[in-house]
Amino acid sequence: MFALRGRRNPSLHRPIIEDLEKKIQKIHLRVLFSQGTEMRLLTHNMLSSNIKGVTNGFPLRVEVEKMVEKQVDFNADFLKNMFTKIEWKALFDAAQTMGYTDLPAEAESSMLDSDEFLKKFHHALLELHLEEGALICPETGRRFPVNKGIPNMLLHEDEV
């Protein structure tokens, strides 16, 4: 910025300076709001406990120590496509555990015509993020810890 001083027409450089200022602001914002990785409930909906001998390892119970909400772009087509693949009850329970109570306990495909429903579904599936806590095997009670948003699903030797 300083190198630009003394030029004949400083207004010419205004866009450059504005651009720099924007970049600096962005860096500040990122330092303030940087949160690292977290786990979406969509990921929770696709994982199950695979410990030897466990016959029904789904759904993993969610234990929350810290959660965050993150804004994710809304994509209605993706949600409609996902709806058929999601276990609703597991999503509903996990969302409740995360403190989000606006989802209906039961859902059917006719609800996908409602924007209001889609927005709630979107929020629960993609915007509620687990940062610290655990996923717990429904059969054995084995804890899979979640640190910095990354669940540790590694099995011990005797569990494989």
Partner: protein, 220 residues
């Protein structure tokens, strides 16, 4: 996004600081990674608006590429916590919202076929025999649409047979042959840089007749 742009983003990613030879950790170069995901998106539509899993994601290059090309949900799996830490920093640097799971790809429990596309640069199985085939077997169970993977060209016949015969792929196609330049990462490498011929494969998993949901049992 243009191919060149994608390649340049991937070129800026942080890579392994202490690669682990037992896990065959070789970074996936920006050249190969960008072409792999660019083809998956532009020739087959397997990336944007999809759920993409990166098996053995290492520092996250392929997963990041998927996210940059508009994948709706990207999940990176790796057994090495240090790699996952770098991968999540890489995602954060590009302001990408990715998920990671610390696990052994071979025995992670999945419910159903939510993943559309699996992308991977598996261990080639030179240290631990069959490691690449283990990855492929799981990928073909988990993905509902397609699996993109790199395998040494010298194993082409074996890979095709295994995919079609043992892992029930409905198709297995080599999209192109690439040169994988392995830089001298480990002490046992005698030459400074070695070119390995690798195939970029696209596999299509068998479509399940019951509407895409497979029982948990079949994933064990």
């Amino acid at each position: 996004m243009k191919l060149k742009q994608l390649e340049s983003f991937l070129g800026d990613l942080q890579q392994f600081s202490n690669p682990k030879v037992e896990l065959e950790q070789y970074p996936t170069g920006p050249h190969i990674a960008s072409r792999m995901l660019y083809t998956a998106e532009n020739s087959f539509g397997d990336v944007s608006n999809k759920v993409v899993a990166d098996f053995g994601c290492g520092c996250g290059t392929l997963g990041v590429a998927a996210a940059l090309l508009g994948a709706e949900h990207v999940i990176g799996l790796d057994i090495d916590p240090q790699s996952l830490e770098i991968a999540s920093l890489n995602a954060e640097d590009l302001e990408l919202d990715m998920n990671f799971v610390h696990c052994d790809v071979k025995n992670l429990g999945w419910r159903g076929q939510i993943v559309d596309t699996v992308v991977m640069n598996p261990p080639f199985g030179t240290r631990k025999k069959g490691a690449d085939m283990d990855f492929l077997a799981v990928a073909l169970k988990v993905a509902s649409q397609a699996v993109y993977s790199l395998h040494k060209s010298s194993t082409r016949d074996h890979v095709r047979k295994a995919a079609l015969r043992n892992f029930n792929a409905s198709s297995a196609e080599v999209l192109c042959e690439l040169r994988y330049d392995v830089q001298q990462l480990y002490k046992f490498h005698k030459k400074k840089e070695v070119d390995i011929a690798v195939d970029l494969w696209r596999f299509v998993p068998q479509k399940d007749k019951l509407g895409g949901i497979i029982a948990d049992e079949s994933l064990r």
